[in-house]
Every structure is written in C-alpha cells, then in structure tokens.
Symmetry: D3
Subunit: 290 residues, 6 copies
C-alpha cells in the first residue's frame, strides 16, 4: 500500500534533512572498514508499523546495509523483542539510525494507539477511522499505520470525497430553500464517483438528507456530529442501513466503546494521528573492526 | 478547479521544455524595447478551455505581459472570434506564444469534442463522463476541459475509487464462491469513502451485485460493459435507481444518443481525451518599435 | 535516443498522477500473491513506438515485473498482433496497466500517422518533419515517435535554431532598410552553431535571403510559407541547393504528395503531433492465484 | 529563523498532499463569490507557534486571502483567545483550513510542552534543549517551536556537530589505547568549527576527556548519560566550566527540576518533539454570499 | 538572455546550500530591526557580469531588500568603482552577501578574461567562442558572461549541434569507404536544423568535407584542430567562405592574435570558462539600528 | 564523505544540462553496437580528486559502462599517468565524456592547489582551511577536493557556525557597552553546539573576547584579520591555546609559510576554491565496431 516511490521520496528527504553534508561523527571517528550489527529492540510493548520505511533509511544510505525484518507490520510485540536486525558498514548503519528510528517510532506509535481504540469497540460492528489531522507530509505513512493497527482510513484528501458541513448546508439552503432538493441538485453536479458525506447536528436533519436522490446517487454517509448516545441510537435506527452512519466528536478511549454500542458504522478519531506519541524503540549497535 | 499551483508547475515545465536556454530568435532579432499586441483568434468554431493556462504561459515568461481573456472557459465561439488579447514586451510574447497555443488548442479541442457528445445525449438524463485515458501529465487540465464542455469527470485515479472488473470478480469468487458474499466482504474492508464500481458482462450478474451490503455500504455504480441497447434498457430497469448505471464500450458520436435513451446515468467516453484533436487557434501578433 | 533519465522522470510523474496513494482496487481485491501474465495486443494495424516507455511503467511500479517487447519501435503490426508480454505480481501489473497503455497508444498513434505522410511522399526527396506543436511535457517522446514512423525532427526548441518570420523581417528591415544586409548583420551576431531559417511569403524575397553572408555563414533553410505548387517549384529552382527548402502551410495527406513532387527538401507537418489520435492497443490480462 | 523558502516548500507540499486535484466540497457546494471570515480560536491554554506557517497555508492557496496574526509566536494564550483572523474567498479559506491547523496545532503543541519543561527548571542555569528525535521533514519547524517555548536547539543534524558515544570511544580506544590521546588525535583531524560532544557513562571518564587538546581545540560538551543526581553533581564539579555539561536520559517533567538543580548546563529532552500532542485549536468560519 | 526562471532556480539552490537552516550569526547577533546599506565595490579592474544574479541572491532571501545596479553587464569598471548598492533589513543583506558575491565574482571573472581574448583579436574578423568546458550547473550563467565580455557562444550542448571528430570520421569511413559520401549520407539522416561541424587534422581532409551535400545541406563548420599558422591560412583559403572555419588547440593569450590573423572565423577557447579566476569584488556593509 | 545521493543529484543535473534531448553526434554517427575503451590521462602533474564523481557521469548515463579508477582521490600523479579506464557502449562513453572531465578537472584543480598551500606550511602546526567562497552548487565537491589535497574544511554554511565580524561587534557593543559582556550574553542565547568565531582587527580586542563565558561555553575561535606577522605572533601568545587562532587576509603562496610560522592554528584561503584552475586531464578514446 505504501509504494516504494513514496517511501523512497519521503525517506530520502529525511536523510537529507538529517545529514546535509554527511555524518561527521562516523566519518571522522569510525574507520571505513568497521562493520556493525544492530538490533531494533522494543523498550515497551506495542504494535509494529513502518518496517519497510525503517529498512529504506538504511538501504538509501548505503545499498550494502542489509535489514532483516523479524516482525511484520501489524504484529504485536513485547518489551525486549527484537523487531529487526541491521547489518553492514558501521558508518552507514550509524548514519541512518536516527532517521530509521524516527519513522518506526512514530508509525508504531500510531498503530499501537489505533489498536487500543479498536480493542475498545470489539464486539461491535463499528470501525475506527482516521481523519485528515495527520502530520503534514506523512499522511500516507500514518494512514498505513492506522490500517496496521486494525483501523480504517477515511477520505484521503479534499479531492476524493465531499464533506458537507453546517456552513455548506446553510449556503445550499439559501439557494434552494429545501435541503433534500439542494442536496439532490448537488448530487446531479458532483462527479458520480465522489463519496458524499453530510454532517448533521440534529435528528430532524436526517430524513431530508436521506431523501436526496439523483441519477442512482444518494448521500453515502451521514455524520452525526456531537450527538448524545441516545441520539446516536435513534439516528442509527432512522438511517436503517440506507447510508453509512459516522459518529464524530467527543471520542476518546473512555467514550468510544459506548459510542460503538449505539450501532454506528464508523467512528472517526483525530487523536489516532494528531496525538499519538512515538513508541520507545531503540537500536542496539555492536561494532567490529577486523 | 485548476489550482494556480498546478497550472504554474505544468506550464513552467512546458516553457523549460520549449526554451531550455532562451529564445534565440527573439533575443537576436527583436530589440529589447519592442512591444507586441497579439490576438488569440479562432480559425474554426469551438468551445474555449484553458484560458488561465494560456495566460500563465505569458505571465510565467514575463510578469510584464498582460493577458486579457475575452471569452470564458466553456463559452462557444465562431471562426474569427478574438478569444484573448496579449500585450507586452515583444520578446516575451513571442517566446511564450507556442506553449500558450499548445495548451489552449488541446484543451479547447477536448472541450469542443465533449460538447458534441453532450449535445448528442441532450433530452436524456445521461451524463457524459471522461476516463483515465488522458495524456500523461495533463490529467487535471483535460478533465477541466471535459467539464467546460459540459461533461462530467469519472474517478480521477486508481486511489479514489474501486473498479472491479471480470478479473477481480473471478478472483473474489474463487475465494468466496458467492458474488454477493464476496462483494459484501470487500465492502467491509474497503475505506467507506471509496466509491465502488462493479463492471458486469451479463444481466444475471446484476442482482447479486445489488444485493451486496456492509455497514450502510452497497455497490455504488454498476457498469454495463458492451451491452446491447436492449440489455442496457433491461439493466436500467433491474437496477431501478439502487445504483448508478454506467454504460461503456462501443460508444461514439453515432451510438451515444441511443445508449443515452436506454436510461443509463453515465456514459464514459475514452475518446474525449485520447482522441480529441487540437483546435485551430492562432496568435495574430503586431510588433512595434518606438 | 530517449534517455533512461527522461523516460524515468516522465513515467514516474504519470504513475504518481494516476495513483497518488496506491491502487485501491488491486490492494483490496487482489491477493498479494496473485500473478498476472498480460499481452499487449493490437486492436488495429499500425506502427509501434514507445516500447521502452511502456516497459518503464511496469518496471517503475515494481522491479519484479518483467516486460518482453516482441516488436521493436518502428515496426508495423497487424490487428491481433502481440506486441509485448508482461509478467509479474498481479497487483503491480494492474496498477501500471493504464499508464503503460496511455503512453504506448499515443506514441504509436504519432508513429502511425507519420508513416502515412512518409508513404505519401515516397519516391520524392522530401522529408516529413515535425514541429513544436507537441503535447506539453511529452516533446521528446513524440519526436521519438515521429522518427520511428520514418519522419524527421525539426528544431527541438526555441533555443537551438532561429526562425525568422515576417514580423522579424519587418523589424530587421526597419533597422537596415535592406534585407540581405540585415540578415548578414544578424548572422554576424548569432552563435555560429545556431541553425538559421527564414520564412518567406513571396518569391522575390528568396534572392536577398540567399545573398546574406557572414563569416562562412549563410541562411541555412528557407521556408516557403503557403506557396502554390507552381511557386514552390519556382522557389526550389531559384534556391538551387544553396539552402534547405522547407514547405509549410496547407499540408495534409491529400496535398502532401504534390508538395513533395515540387522538389522541396522538408515538409513540416504540425498534425503529426497535434492531431494524432491514440491507437487502439489493449492489455489482455490473465490472473492466477496459486 | 524559518526562512520563507523553507516555509513555502513544506507548506506547498502539505497543500498538494491534502488536495491533489482540488477541494471537491468547496468547488461544488460553495459559490465562487462567497466570502469567509474565520477566527483561529484556542480551545485550551497554551503557547503559540507557527503563525507564519499557518498564514502560508492560506497565502499559498490563494493570494487574495488575508491572515492577520493577533498573537505572536511565543506568546501564551487562554482558552477562547482569538489567535488570528483569516478573511477572503470562502472556497480558498475552507480549502486551506485543515493544513493550516495541522501545522499550528503541532507547532503550538511543541512550544507549549517546551514551556512546561522550561518552567520546571526555572531558577537554575540549565537550558532545555531539543534532540534529533523530530518529525521527519519538519525539523526546522519543530526546532522553531522549541525556541518559541523558551527552549534551545541542540545540533541540527549529523553534519554540524560530532557526538562521540560509547561505541565511538571503544573504537578510538582500540586504535590508541588512551582516551585523551585518541580524542586529541580526533580533534586534530576534525574541522575546527565542528562542535565536539563526548558522551560518558562514568565519572572516571571525565578527566581524560577534559584533558584532550589540539590546536586550541578541546572537547566542547560532555554529556553525562543516565547519571544519578549525585553523580551529575560530582560531574559538574569535576568539569568546572571547562566544557558544557549536558544531562541526558530519564528526563521527564517529574525529574527535570532535580536534574537542573545539579548545575548542568544543558538538559536534552527528546519528548519535546517526539511526544508532544497537537494543541486543540479550531477555526470558526463565517460565510457570506452577497 | 538569462531567464528569470533559470536565475531563480540556480540562486535558490545556492542559498539553500549556504544556509540550510538559517544564518545563525545574523539571527542571534543582529536585531531584526537593524538596517543595512551595502556597496558592491570593485577591488580590481574588470568587466561586470551577473548583475541580475547578484540581485536575485538578495531578492530571493528577502523581497524587502532593494538592489540598485549602477553598472550594466558588459561594462568596464576601475578599482574602487561602486557597481551596485544594496539596501534593506540587515539580517537579510548579510545572509545573502556571500552567495551574491560568489556569483558576481565568478561571472565577472569570465567576462573579464573574455575581453582580454577579444582585445587580442581586435582588427581581425575572428570571433572568440566558448566551449562546453563550463562549470557543471552554471553553463547558462557562464555563457552569458562570455557574451558580456564580447565573446560568442559555441554549441550549448550535445543536443543542438553535431561535432564529428576523428573517431566519428573513422567509423563513418569504415562504413562507406569514402568521406564525402559518408558525410552526405549522415546529412541525409540528421535533423536539417542540426548544425554540423567536422573536425579535421590535415589539409587534405578539407576538400572531401566541403564536397558533402544532401538536400540543401552541407557541412556548416570545419574545425582545424591544432593546425600550424601556415596551415590555418591555407585552410581558410581552401574553404573560401563555403563553411565557417574554426581554429582550436593551443590557444592562449599569446597565440590567439596570430591565429586570428590567419582569417579563421571562430576561435574556441576552453580557458574562458574552465580557468577564469574569481574577480575581487567586495561588499562594504554599513549597519544601523534605530 | 560525498554521499552517493549528493553525487547522483549533482551529476544528473550536469548531464541534463549537457544533453537535454540526447547526444546528436553519437546517435547519428556512431552505431549502437560500437564499443569504446577510454583512458583518463593526466596531461600535467597534480593530485587527483573526484574519482567517484567522474565515474558517476558514466554510470548515470548508462549502467553498462564500467569505470575502473586506477588512482585514488588524494594521490599524486605525473603527466601521462592513466588515472582511470572507462569501458562500454561507445555512444554512452562519448555522451558522458565532457561532464565527467569537467568535474574531475575542477576537483583535481582544487586538490592540487591545496597541496601547494599545505606544502608551504609543512613543518608548522597550521592547517590550511577553505572558505565559503565556493562555486555555487558544488560546495560539497570542492570541500572534498580540499580534504583530498590535505587541507581542512572551515564552516560549511551560515547555519553551522557563528562568525562575528566588526559589524556584529559594533552592534553588540551598542547594546551592552562592553564586549566581554555582550559576547557572554550572546553565548547564553546561542545553541551550545554552534561554533563561535570572532574576528578581531586589533590585539587589544583579544583579551575581552577570551574573557567571555556562559554555561561552559567560551569563544571557540579568534580570527586575526589582516594582522602583521608580528601581531599574529603576539596574538598567538596572548591566546595561548585558549581558543583556536585563525589567520585570514593577504594569504597567498608567497606569504602563507611565514604566517604559519607565527604559530596560528588555522589559515583560511579563499583562493583554494575561488581561483583554482581546471587541471588538464583528457580522455583518450578508442572505438571498435565488431
């Protein structure tokens, strides 16, 4: 899912950022002939993500470095687990270490936090989905990590789905008077492949949204924004499978289980990406000079 | 819809391609002080598209060149019509001329061909849609031109919609035995915002496709591939507004009207972008040296 | 002639355009272990061009995909001919398919149209040449296709040859009074390696153009713009091998043979690149899951 | 300190990532003539950082959008405070909203967390410094945020300072037997402008490190890694101003105050950048259509 | 002739190279409000080139800096002359100073050395031309400097002219036996706009080269490589204006005058760009803090 | 020290510059099957630098070309020495020749000039260092060459070290009255890893500069600008190993030995990079067609 082109582009930029004109320490203190073996070790439990990205940091620094991934993306690990083994010229291993770790720690942090949300809704039919609140430049990586943690992706960008919020509905209403009619008209203009999601604040907005139709199209998803649990339940009943039901607002690890129990299909959680902390992974390096 | 960032990036590359180290002719034969006024003139009738792109060729060559667009994107024009007036330092106007024309001619060619398809389905509810058969590097421009010609866009890329064809259905069936079940299972894994289109070859595939369900999702669009007019009509009846109906295959200006009469919602036409010819537009330049 | 650097840069951009964050269909519907064999098949007769570019679409998506070209650039093929065979991981083959086809169809379209022009002038000494009316961003590819169709390239860009048209001559004349003198003076300033072409509208302009001289330089090519067949013939006689004679204007498949018979050396044809349609090539894919 | 070139490059890439082919919602649901006024509002207390970056998201989307920053980078704010006011075409304001927020939230998160560490060491002479554990691609932004929170920057990259750790010392020792001698020899080869920091694990390593000399150079900084508070105190005494003393390891908001009291000069804190969460800032948008 | 796009691209890269994360000195030691006025002063006599490039270093660092060029490219100056005046925020002026000087010193160095060669051939009809022995990445700049010094440009790149040397002639001969025939055949395949230059080592090669013909084409330039003055003179006579005569080899300021006296049209001098030294220009900066 | 990423990026740009659309001569005059063997031969004595860069020009043109380096960077060679042997397809070898030479000649020129300065100070403890007066875009390459010639690098950029000159000192003094105090205050704000160098014009400035202190920091290097030999000697005595002593100004091959004898640690020489001439290296090519 992460194309090699994307990985290479982003990792290369990170390596440039971290060593615009080489690694002084390695170059002046480590002989060119020194070799290193390094274990990527978990210092806390978690779910791994970013194996290919971690490996790319070394591969793009020096093709002679070999990285063996012992754990796959999406696997759980315990503290002390060896997740990968890196082997090659010591200068190159040390030069790529920090960049490789920065990616693996962040991506594993996102995956691990996602699994906590996923666990909290287990037994329900709700999926945990990410949002556009991602780190600028790392969206593809963070969404991959969400999937590796058992979550699902929401729209990738402003270009692939429509999200009509109160502001938009107000403007549409101003034009047509009637919400059903105005949404139907919008459906008639929108590309037929654009997913259409409408955010509602009140239960009485659901019926007119569901009634919108144009050329085989309907509103695909209704987002119930900041609804009480009771209202979520009522919303799910009213929609009755005629659209995806998404809950949003006030979601955290305490509340997400109850929200899922209401029967909603999707719970979107900004925190997955905007507030995950880096997981504590370290590289244990052993050098040898022959 | 065409962001300035996209226009600037693509036009700048085209200018570099056309003058990697300057315009020898202008530099050696035209005095720096010479001024030019140039009319963008239609040599045949058509629909205009690419005004902002045409203007960018001059603006990015020299900010002192002024381009006044007399016709908006999407407007029809007759032969001899003046579509835009360019004014500024002669060297710059001449240096940007060919690149500006290359864009405007191609984009107007696409828009004009699109209007012919749109006209051929007028009076029906079918929309004319483009495909991914666009010129590499110019997709955003060509899709803009399609819209300017009254057409609609299909999915932009492989990343924003799913298109399950015979090959995919065969593989899914191999896994689950049953098409409805396998599509339902796929819906349960796919991002809920991904538009799902399924291509069918026979009428008896429609019912199982329509029956697929997962978490408020259904198949969004059914493409009837290479169906006879009778079968298209029957397909539309069977689908009955429960999905978008798209017709594809064997579409040309002769056949498109009859296809539209069957009641399908979308007719996708590769020719809009892969076989439009450049429209004949010219630049009438008047130089003056004071 | 198409350097690998150029191919890679342009094809990579096209792949990014067509799948900014992956191919959803392949990723969600095709198992990672599935393999594909695909034949590039001609659906109409033509001349092939773009084999290396087609192959690059697959290679740059996934180095494990193997592309065997069965037909070389420049070869003629009949409908049903297998032009290439693609083999590798199914996800990658399907992800690269459209981009590979978009290039091969367009380039083969240009090559095929070129052969028609070349055939129409066979038996004469005229060469068919392209112009700068190419698709922005694809000039190197389209000019390669022209050569593969038996045509020749004209100047690549504004930077490598001078083309003095009526506007330029008027300005030069204003400065010097005399055309021969003014062209001689321009030759004395121009880089000696810059090809100098002068466009004339009337027979009486030929002699003064031919008379221009400076430091071993003369005008290299005289373009007879929109001349009647009789005037072309007279122009060829007057020039008598002392410059390349180029005919331009009103050239199509009907007229090009007669124009060539007048004895001109070069006939430049904008249509080769601005109005070629994509050739109908398809990819027949067979998937297998072990 | 954040150059406009850096801001523009990074923000432009983030905008492209978030809208590769435009904002469908704005384009189809908001009239081109609609205007928006939007307040950047704090939903929790904190320290602002990233004002110029936030503004760039709007400026680079549409130069007609005006952003007035009401709070400067480094200023503290209370919940409800209006940090900036954005005004301009509604389509553009809405298209840039998420990207602008993503930057401002993260940068303010880093600045705010930094102030907590800085407050915890107030009254001491220790400075709080960041590390290379930054988000790939955003190092310059995050280090700016650290400074805005009252922290200091550590080395920017592998290229501008040497950090000799146990591994390096072991290799040096292997070559020379003697640590002082081997460090002196390294100083004699290193660029004289490269800051040299040596990490020690034990108090008895300090004296030989301090004794190293070459051509006016000495070791600039000694990092006491995972030292007890007592050992830190003793280390500070032994070094006695002859090098910068840096403490590292086991630093959190609980421990940092005591560490600072030992008299160390620098405390480096990876958490500043690798574990700051996004601050809760929102954009309150008001649309109007005339 | 230097397009703004080229200047901006190259200067921006140089600024990034010289300050990847800002100018520490200015940022920490100069108040943001300080202003600077700086004179670009000549410390030795010479010919100016690179004014626009020098100015761009400041403009691209900070659009508020104003650069007034007091001397135009191509003008001679004496020691002490003020060539430009820079005014603006002190931090920005100081940050851009070195990059601006690095360009102006090098370009003026090339222009000045060129004038020495041009002066040495004054009174003859020979032009001094540059070669492809330019600094990688700076070709457009150095060729501009050559022109500003009164020299002329040779071919820009491998793509815009053919240069057939002994190796090529040997291979051609192997194929055809006869040099005239083989060159004629090559002319029949080459783009008619490609300048064709043939390098000869002996006088007896001139006649067969001159005899080559195809479709109005002939060999454009004959390079007499390492000829004695006598042989140059004889070569000029034999060619008699039927091709440009270029002398090459053993050219320096001592010999160039005599070579020019032989009547050759072009003398190409690699030293213009590969061995020019930077001219001594300095920036006298006056700061003020209000 | 030169990372492969840097080499590839810069060499690729140089190849593009030299052949934007291929090498016409090779493509039209050399059969695709021809092979070449080429020796890189020294035409004058010198010190080699740039072997990897030279090789990259061929490797990036065509991976089938093999380059064997017979001399390592930093080795001395005599006229006639074969430094490398290139073998592969003739078209590719000829296409890359000029770019490969342009790099190797310049880098070897810098290395060779550096060895002359290094030789002139042999027997002293002074190191020869480069400056920021490098060719824009080639800094990493030229600094590598300086090291290969036995020299040392100074600060790489404005971002990694502080250089306080008279202007800065004047401003600091204005703020604090007292130089020691103002430098101490600056040290307290500067990143502790930023090397701090202060330029002084008079001996009486040394004591206050040496007295500056903050948190284990002091001024790292004192540059004695344009000092007489006597004053340099006195400066060295006064500084007495408490900072690096750098001499600058009026340095050439005549004076550098005496300057070194004064006991300074570093002598920075702009001429190493701004005035080195390209060394005369040539490629002797032998073609064969089977």
């Amino acid at each position: 899912m992460l194309s090699r082109a994307t990985i290479d582009r982003v990792v290369r930029a990170a390596l440039d950022e971290d060593a615009p004109w080489g690694d002084l320490t390695s170059e002046y203190l480590i002989p060119a002939s020194a070799l290193a073996t390094a274990d990527l070790v978990a210092r806390e439990p978690g779910v791994f993500a970013g194996g290919e990205v971690f490996a790319a940091a070394f591969r793009l620094t020096d093709p002679r470095v070999d990285v063996r991934l012992d754990v796959e993306d999406g696997e759980f690990f315990i503290p002390g687990a060896v997740l990968a083994v890196v082997e090659g010229p010591a200068r190159s291993v040390l030069a790529a270490e920090r960049v490789g770790l920065n990616f693996a720690q962040r991506m594993s942090g996102v995956a691990t936090l996602t699994t906590e949300y996923v666990a909290a809704v287990s037994g329900t039919t709700a999926r945990i989905a990410d949002t556009r609140k991602t780190t600028p430049g790392l969206r593809a990586f963070e969404r991959h990590a969400v999937r590796m943690g058992g979550g699902h992706n929401h729209r990738y960008s402003l270009s692939d789905a429509v999200m009509a919020k109160d502001n938009h509905l107000a403007i549409l209403a101003q034009k047509h008077g009637n919400l059903t009619e105005s949404l139907s008209e919008a459906l008639s203009r929108l590309p037929h492949t654009a997913h259409v999601e409408v955010e509602v604040d009140r239960l009485d907005q659901i019926a007119p949204v569901l009634a919108a139709r144009s050329g085989g199209r309907r509103v695909d998803t209704i987002m119930l924004d900041n609804f009480s649990l009771d209202d979520l339940r009522r919303g799910v009943e009213m929609i009755a499978g005629r659209a995806v039901v998404e809950a949003s607002g006030g979601v955290d690890l305490e509340t997400v289980g109850d929200i899922a129990e209401t029967g909603v299909d999707v719970i979107s959680v900004g925190a997955l990406t905007h507030s995950a902390r880096a997981l504590d992974l370290g590289l244990d390096v052993r050098l040898r000079v022959d």
